[in-house]
């Protein structure tokens, strides 16, 4: 009995001490109105740090800047997009933060987005991706009338120009930093990104022979990434030659099967979402435990007439990668690292893209690292 009382007493003291210790840290930051130029080029006034956020895109980048605390600021989420487009990531978030499943789903701009739902939630800011702007022009006016600012970020690569990419990632991340009052961490994140990208582009300057590569989608047999596709930019930055860019001007398009035989690529990459190729099976992603299914899928994907004579197949330089890794989020540097390593295995012997991704998760994402993100034919 006596010992229990003592334990209780100490606990009480401990709790009080903790409370005291936390008080000064929690000093409320002074709210101020700042002007932000977002990635669409709009100037927006926002009262920062924000307390209530409606997030239409980029939970990963948002939480990488804001950490766990920022998650609690989310009052509305475009969970529609997560469930449809990145089901594995959604499962990860909900498994670790079950309350996220209960967040109001405000929908995907151009599809299910409901501006009234957002107004009802009275957020301090709405964060969206630049690609959503064209669907939101009318809604932005309505939101602004209701006093809710909308800020657009952009993490998509738009060319093979590294400086431009850095500029874009830098701007987007610093905006998130300013909104969440985490500018130091934002800067840290940008430096991390730059370092990981530079690791690749600095070294490829010495490359003399550009290996031929092609990236196919897993959802349409001969759909390859062309001149305006993000994979083309990664291949260019990794100093390879994307054969499909010669014939496909758009971001992706169908190539003539013969063309692949004629060009004889050294590296073939398949980009695959978590719902490969259309819901039949799950080969890759956060939720996948091992590479067995992905490797099986690769074997089926290369089972095309004449492919046994293609360099990439002969030398087993055929790979599969998570589609979500390739664009639109700050950890896209991992995709660049993978592509560069696949193009120049000797040059990047010491580069471990998976380790990079793990480090990124451990340092920035409030989720444990897990999953199969890329693998090779073996």
């Amino acid at each position: 009995m006596k010992s229990k009382v003592i334990v209780l007493f100490f606990l009480l003291v401990a709790v009080m001490l903790l409370g005291c210790a936390q008080k000064p840290v929690e000093k409320p930051e002074e709210a101020k109105v700042i002007k932000i130029t977002d990635l669409v080029g709009r100037e927006v006034s926002v009262k920062v740090p924000v307390a209530k956020v409606v997030l239409l895109y980029g939970l990963e980048d948002y939480s990488a800047v804001g950490g766990k605390d920022a998650l609690k600021k989310i009052v509305g989420l475009n969970s529609w997009r997560y469930k449809k487009y990145r089901p594995d990531w959604w499962q990860a978030w909900v498994a670790n933060y079950p309350w996220m499943a209960e967040l109001p789903d405000v929908g995907q701009p151009g599809k299910t987005f409901e501006v009234e739902d957002v107004i009802k939630l009275k957020p301090d800011v709405v964060i969206a991706d630049k690609s959503m702007y064209k669907y939101m022009e009318e809604d932005i006016k309505r939101l602004e009338k209701a006093g809710i600012p909308v800020v657009f970020t952009d993490y998509f690569p738009h060319s093979d120009n590294v400086t431009q990419l850095f500029d874009e990632v830098n701007k987007s991340t610093l905006i998130l930093g300013k909104l969440l009052g985490k500018e130091d961490r934002a800067k840290q994140l940008v430096d991390f990104f730059k370092e990981k990208v530079n690791k690749v582009v600095e070294r490829t300057e010495k490359v003399s022979v550009k290996p031929k590569a092609v990236v196919f989608a897993t959802w349409a047999e001969w759909r390859a990434y062309g001149k305006k596709g993000m994979y083309n930019f990664w291949i260019e930055m990794g100093d390879g030659e994307n054969i499909a860019a010669k014939v496909v001007d758009a971001s992706s398009g169908d190539v003539n099967p013969e063309f692949v035989l004629k060009e004889n690529p050294d590296v073939i990459v398949f980009t695959c979402n978590n719902n490969f190729p259309s819901g039949q099976r799950v080969a890759i992603g956060y939720t996948v435990d091992n590479t067995t299914i992905a490797k099986e899928a690769l074997k089926e994907l290369i089972n095309r007439p004449g492919w046994e004579n293609i360099n990439a197949v002969k030398e087993k330089r055929v790979y599969i990668i998570h589609h979500g890794l390739s664009h639109g989020h700050i950890f896209e540097f991992v995709c660049l690292q993978y592509i560069a390593k696949w193009l120049h295995p000797e040059l990047f012997k010491d580069l471990n893209p998976e380790e990079s991704l793990k480090t990124f998760y451990d340092n920035f994402i409030p989720l444990p690292y897990h999953g199969v993100w890329a693998t090779e034919l073996s």
């Binding site: 190539v255 099967p257 819901g279 007439p305």
Partner: protein, 347 residues
């Protein structure tokens, strides 16, 4: 004297019809040869023939046997099947606008394909991956036909009932398809749109054989009925007075056409316009006599789709342009020319 003149006139007519049929046949052969010889890898005509009669594992053999020959045959056969199906639909429905589109068969097939792509629903279990989408599309296309049949059974097989029923079914499947598309992810949406545009890249010799067998059987069966079908074009009353059981004939032809259309579109997706235009072109040049018109429509369909297939390869060498877009773009101007310049009444 009068009699002699009429015989001469008839002979001239038959000669004219045979002339156009031979012309179509020659065009089919020429276009197929072009289809076989055009591609990113250059193979001479001589080598193509050599490759076709020998076996081997070199690049030329792979290219010809695994890619170009299935592609070429599929273009020819699917074009022919769509042409014939369009012709008979227009005839039994007595409607110049009838095609697999009007009756909702294409929309049904599209919905079946989308079910496989978007929800992963298989109509038949344990089907190899390659055939999941075709079988779904086939089953739904055929179901659509049966639905039209049911409407006909209830309301009578008049062309108005069938056309209106077809339009209703078409809208139903189109909205269901739109609903599926609305909820699809980016990737599956791309896959289904790709299918809806139509593509010959999924061709194989096996699929070509299936289409060939169905086309051959249906064409033969229709040829046997050609007199009755021709009579139908005189109007129901006249056909009945000639002893044709019009309702039975409509049902029978509808079944053949359903089978033909379903098989044709299930492998390559929806290729528009061929089924509508090919029969009209053939009819303008050949006339109403089904004995010639059946062959003419098949060949004309083959010509249009083969030409489309070549164009889809050469617009950007090395890439494949969706063939469904090309057939329309190619077919419309020519069709307009015939409509405006043609001397005869079209329908």
């Amino acid at each position: 004297m009068q009699e002699m003149q009429e015989i001469c006139l008839y002979r001239e007519l038959v000669f004219r019809r045979l002339l156009f049929i031979s012309l179509f046949l020659i065009l089919c052969i020429v276009l197929s040869l072009l289809n076989l010889s055009i591609g990113p890898i250059s193979i001479g005509i001589g080598e193509i023939f050599h490759t076709l009669i020998t076996q081997g594992n070199d690049t030329a053999h792979v290219v010809i046997w695994d890619y170009r020959l299935p592609w070429t045959l599929m273009a020819l056969l699917v074009g022919g099947a769509l042409g014939l199906a369009g012709l008979e639909m227009q005839t039994i429905l007595n409607n110049p606008l009838a095609s697999s589109y009007t009756l909702g068969i294409s929309a049904g097939a599209g919905f079946g394909a989308a079910l496989a792509y978007i929800l992963g629903i298989k109509v038949l279990p344990n089907v190899p991956m390659e055939f999941v989408v075709p079988i779904n599309a086939f089953v739904f296309a055929f179901l659509t036909c049966m639905l039209i049949m049911l409407i006909g059974k209830i309301r009578g097989f008049t062309s108005e009932t069938l056309v209106l029923g077809g339009i209703a079914i078409s809208f139903m499947f189109q909205s269901l398809l739109a609903l599926l598309e609305y909820y699809a992810s980016e990737e599956t949406l791309q896959a289904i749109v790709f299918w809806l545009f139509g593509s010959l890249t999924k061709a194989s010799l096996f699929k070509a054989q299936v289409v060939f067998i169905v086309l051959a059987i249906v064409a033969t069966l229709l040829m046997l009925k050609s007199w009755k079908i021709t009579a139908l074009r005189l109007g129901d009353e006249k056909a009945k007075s000639l002893g044709v059981n019009t309702e039975r004939l409509r049902i029978e032809v509808l079944i053949y056409v359903s089978l033909l259309t379903s098989v044709a579109i299930c492998f390559v997706g929806i290729i528009g316009f061929v089924g509508l235009v090919a029969p009209h072109m053939a009819r303008m040049l050949i006339g109403e006599d089904q004995r010639f018109l059946i062959v003419g429509s098949i060949l004309c369909g083959g010509v249009i789709l083969s030409a489309g297939a070549i164009t889809s390869k050469v617009i950007v060498p090395g890439a494949i342009f969706p063939i469904g877009i090309i057939t329309s773009m190619l077919g419309v101007p020519f069709f307009m020319f015939l409509v405006i310049r043609g001397r005869k009444q079209i329908w």
